[in-house]
Symmetry: none
Subunit: 422 residues, 2 copies
């Protein structure tokens, strides 16, 4: 069983509004095991809408349409569906009664335009809108079932959940699609692709793919089948992927890197502090995004200038003079000093050049040193040198994510150099 | 001249990712006066992509395609374009050279899959990707010009701006749509609506509307006409809006709040420091996002625990005991102490409860105190108490934005209480 989604509205094609309805509906269909190979976005133009409906019904079992059911001149979906089916619009008496009741309830006068909202093609039926005025329309054209919903996301979602989803569930016959994302940080998409490329066969079930979002590379697994089958397929493939990528995977699905790090610290009853130069507070901000992070994070420093590295952390000014603020040595000393001043078990220090410019060929834009000082005191310092691509913002984000990744691996008792590509 | 936009990726049709590329491109086309009656979203399926390209070129002058140019098995756009045109893929030597240079620069080994990214249909050309590995493709099929871009939004936008927009501009000629956004922070959308509602007539030219994005309320002005006409209409309406909203407007278009604050500090030759509790480094992070911020920001503190407020900043522990860490008094003392320790002209301090839970009815979730200590010493402290709605993340963001807004107004010599709604 397959579906096509049509979103209607000039505000969508002109980019004033981002279409979140189609994505939401796509997710719903995927979970019901209904494939959705195509989504269309069309402006407020009746002949274009009619053409799209007529063509779509030749290609799908289910056609979901959202938008264009409002009371104004540019709401053309009702008329377009009628034209595509080849039927006149008639007034639905039940829908009209509900509309009238709605306007009485909110104490407003109903306009003539609102009356148009109670119309439907003669063979179709109106579908109740539980949180707005525009009823939906359920119609059939050829072998295709057409479900029309309002464009307002809240109304669309409520109508889908209450009226259409139960029908689709029954029709789909118990086959569902389950998904899982395994999230990694510290290796590129192609590095990961080289290790799991053989699992990414086109059209396979379960299917495997990778996506990158804000520096996090996720391996996505999709399985279609009866619920228990699909879950078992996901589980087995996840084990294979985890086996290939090992500790590079930090979480599944929506669990953020910073959440994993804070949970590990709390679980081990350990504290962490931060000393940040080029990331300017981003590492601390990420840690403190996690509810309850006050249990493991008490204080941190933003030491943007050389002077503050010396005064606030106590880094030896001679060291900065000798090696430069962007150096392995200064990163290590920042972490060591922060850990000692904060009386924390662990410390993260970041220093580097996030750009946009560099006045020193030894410190190119993107060169970042990240140090992790650990609970075993003096020598327990790991420093990694990274060269990140991109602009200032993405260099800072990647630096912060790498810092959290290094701490995560150290908390697992692992050597980051044995896990991450060099 | 008209265009069709195709977005490619299973993550889009399955709703895992919301397609923001099509909306952004739609906006760009609207500004160029190019109509875009149709947008398509297609999964990773070569025959579906080929069919969509073949059909689209019969309906449009310009075909914009984003996504599916990555280095993995499920990236099918390159091959699909070649198949639609009916040509083999060949390696583009310039693109290959750039790819090789990219991998040398970031010190990583190039995989075989990456090499595929330098391929193009024989009559097409590769287009430079200024911030990623995947080159774009520019091709022609019949009368239609095809512009292919990567799916990563940043890479897509950069490629469109640098390579495709100039071509489209030259081709479009005539009537354009100009837009301007006037950005505000500190008052709600309905408060602003009450002051400019009469300007927001439907279908007017210029048209005025408001949008809210991440706590910033923007008044958007759209004007359609010949370039000089449209610009003049925008300018006149912008003056009216600025007259109504005064210093609440902090910038136009893409200029961020933190950029305005850093520029004001640099212009006045002043420095700032930060002492953050619940925002955990976010204020400092925002300031240091701005290139060149090291000129006005040298150091900051994240004092998450009561102890660190006392030790690192020197806030009197008795004060914390008496009023609690979330209080007007402690916020003021944090700012005063930070300013003095950092030897800065200005200091921002934030303390509050960002949630998710509160164990003290006097400190409900969302209660935040923000203090600004100014260059006139002892008594020059402004403290504002705020009650923000939303979840932890949005409370932290709004607190940080309000802190920057308060400093911005103080830098203008204004009393925030005279400008912002109470």
């Amino acid at each position: 069983m397959n579906a096509i989604i049509i979103s209607i509205g000039d505000e969508l094609t002109s980019g004033l509004t981002i279409d979140s309805n189609a994505a939401w509906l796509g997710r719903q269909l995927a979970e019901l095991g209904i494939s959705c190979p195509l989504q269309l976005t069309i402006g407020d133009n009746q002949s274009a809408i009619v053409a799209a409906i007529s063509q779509s019904v030749t290609q799908c079992d289910i056609l979901l349409i959202s938008g264009g059911l409002g009371p104004t001149e540019d709401d053309l979906t009702r008329g377009s569906v009628a034209e595509a089916i080849g039927e006149p619009l008639v007034t639905d008496q039940v829908a009209m009664g509900e509309l009238e009741a709605f306007f009485r309830r909110i104490n407003r006068t109903m306009t003539e335009n609102n009356r148009l909202q109670a119309m439907r093609p003669i063979s179709a039926s109106c579908v109740k809108n539980s949180c707005g005025t525009a009823p939906g329309i359920m119609a059939r054209l050829g072998k295709t079932q057409i479900f029309v919903m309002p464009g307002v996301p809240k109304e669309m979602k409520a109508m889908f959940e209450l009226s259409y989803k139960p029908l689709l569930q029954a029709a789909a016959g118990g086959v569902v699609r389950r998904t899982m994302a395994l999230n990694s940080c510290g290796a590129g998409e192609s590095w990961i692709g080289a290790r799991i490329g053989d699992l990414m066969k086109r059209g396979a079930n379960p299917a495997v793919g990778t996506t990158v979002h804000d520096g996090i590379v996720s391996v996505r697994i999709y399985a279609t089948g009866k619920p228990a089958e699909a879950s078992a397929m996901i589980e087995e493939m996840a084990n294979t992927v985890r086996h290939r990528l090992g500790e590079l995977i930090f979480s599944a699905d929506q669990i953020a890197l910073e959440t994993v790090v804070v949970q590990a610290l709390m679980h081990q009853d350990r504290t962490v502090t931060t000393a940040e130069s080029c990331t300017g507070g981003m590492v601390a901000m990420m840690l403190t995004h996690v509810p309850g992070s006050s249990g493991c994070f008490k204080r941190g420093w933003i030491t943007y200038s050389d002077e503050s590295k010396a005064i606030d952390l106590g880094v030896d000014p001679e060291l900065i003079k000798k090696y430069g603020a962007v150096s392995r040595e200064v990163a290590g000393a920042m972490a060591q000093q922060a850990r000692s001043r904060a009386e924390a078990h662990w410390a993260i220090a970041v220093t580097g050049n996030a750009g946009p410019a560099s006045d020193d060929p030894k410190n190119p834009v993107g060169l970042i040193f990240i140090a992790i000082a650990g609970p075993n005191g003096g020598d327990d310092i790991y420093v990694r040198s990274c060269q990140f691509p991109g602009d200032r913002q993405s260099i800072r984000l990647r630096s912060s994510q790498m810092a959290l990744t290094l701490l995560r691996l150290r908390l697992l008792g692992l050597d980051p150099d044995a896990i991450l590509p060099v």
